[in-house]
């Protein structure tokens, strides 16, 4: 129904006549927003909460969207702010954990249904695509990704293992992730 509309058109429909048009935006961007939140927070449950709150915040502020930026960048900005807020809140809690009960009560939303059969099939296809993309990287870049993601080594450990400067390891991983992102962008998931 909304699949043919652009993000900006969907925002207009959601604000004007059909709020459920926002569901299409969520469907398009939930994975990327979740990935961003996961990258910032490093924990799945925290990232899930942050993504949920980001979309709720976007929905509540749809009226403030002026169309000066793209919806995607607007959503990313909201997600970053949500993550930063969450990190600050966590830091405060770690220093003074008296507010824990209040925080738990505020968590109303739950994770979306990623385990449905359709999603499982899509995930299987996606794994193949990601595996091929990783394997197609040059060896030096692939090596760093494997050591970082699969062996969970620190930059310093990778540097010592490969006998490379720390800055080289960081730049290799950065390049690897950028190339991987480009390869995955070419393949529609």
């Amino acid at each position: 129904m909304f699949a043919d509309l652009t993000d900006e058109e969907l925002v207009g429909v959601a604000v004007g006549s059909d709020p459920e048009a926002f569901g299409e935006i969520v469907k398009r961007w939930e994975r990327k927003i979740f990935a961003l939140c996961f990258g910032m927070l490093g924990r799945e449950d925290d990232a899930r909460d942050a993504a949920q709150e980001s979309f709720v915040a976007a929905y509540r502020n749809l009226g403030n969207f002026r169309g000066e930026a793209r919806v995607s960048s607007w959503l990313h900005r909201i997600a970053v702010n949500q993550c930063l807020t969450l990190k600050r809140r966590q830091k405060t809690r770690s220093e003074d954990f008296l507010d824990d009960e209040t925080g738990e009560n505020e968590r109303v939303f739950v994770a979306s249904g990623h385990l449905s059969p359709v999603n499982m099939t899509e995930r299987g296809q996606q794994e193949v695509i990601v595996r091929k993309a990783v394997n197609s990287l040059p060896l030096d870049l692939r090596q760093v990704i494997v050591m970082k993601e699969f062996e969970e080594m620190t930059f310093q450990e990778i540097s010592e293992t490969l006998e490379l400067p720390l800055s080289t390891v960081k730049s290799r991983l950065y390049t690897a992730l950028k190339q991987l992102r480009m390869k995955l962008e070419r393949v529609p998931i």
Binding site: G39, R77, R131
Partner: protein, 229 residues
């Protein structure tokens, strides 16, 4: 996603990698996060790197984490160090092969030693058991630890065996060493035909032999005939 002018020319872009892996120092982290809130370029960079990292993370998690570490079951109800029946059979086969190979090698060495001694001459003593065992002993000494060689006089080193073996020692000396004064004297004492003592060489009826020079006896007969005349 973002405008190109905002995405480029930001010094913090590459810091996204350190940031998403949580390896940024406390002070740079605060600086980066305060910068991030107002920089669309860095947000875009962070989103891209995070997305790529997330894809790998998810792939790893779904494809590799279900592969639980195999459960290793040790049969603790059995005594340690006791092999199973199959292992014992295989060990016996291996041992018989080893013994067969060792026996064949020993036989070859014994034959070679016998041939060498036979070629050296008939006056040599036949190869004794000690000589054969001396040739085999080095092969066995490879298996035994060195301390057993040192403690057991029955398995000496090869050089010691060559010195003390009675059967081989004369041959080795005769073939390998030059003539010493003692051996030259011994050769001079060897009896020759010109040095035969006639008193002992005259044949008697009981000890007559065709090897004795008969011309000498005829001369004596002629002498006797002349004296009779």
């Amino acid at each position: 996603m973002f405008g190109k002018n905002k995405k480029l020319n930001c010094e913090f872009g590459a810091s996204a990698v350190e940031y998403i892996y949580g390896e940024m120092g406390e002070q740079p982290l605060a600086v980066f996060e305060s910068h991030l809130a107002g920089c669309d370029g860095c947000i875009a960079e962070l989103a891209e790197v995070s997305e790529a990292r997330f894809e790998v993370y998810e792939w790893r998690r779904s494809a590799f984490e279900p592969l639980a570490t195999p459960i290793i079951r040790i049969p603790y109800n059995e005594p340690a160090g006791v092999r199973g029946a199959i292992d014992r059979v295989w060990g016996a086969i291996s041992a018989s092969r080893m013994w067969a190979a060792g026996g064949f090698a020993a036989a070859c060495i014994a034959v070679a030693s016998w041939m060498a001694l036979s070629a050296a001459g008939p006056s040599a003593d036949p190869p004794s058991v000690a000589a054969n065992s001396a040739e085999v002993a080095p092969a066995a000494s490879k298996i035994e630890p060195p301390r057993y060689v040192a403690e057991a006089p029955m398995q000496p080193a090869r050089s010691e065996i060559r010195r003390v073996t009675p059967a081989r020692a004369p041959f080795i000396k005769a073939r390998a060493t030059p003539k010493s004064p003692r051996t030259q004297i011994a050769q001079r004492k060897t009896p020759s035909r010109n040095n035969i003592d006639r008193s002992t060489a005259v044949p008697t009826l009981s000890g007559y032999s065709t090897d004795v020079d008969s011309s000498l006896r005829l001369a004596e007969v002629f002498d006797d005939i002349g004296s009779m005349d």
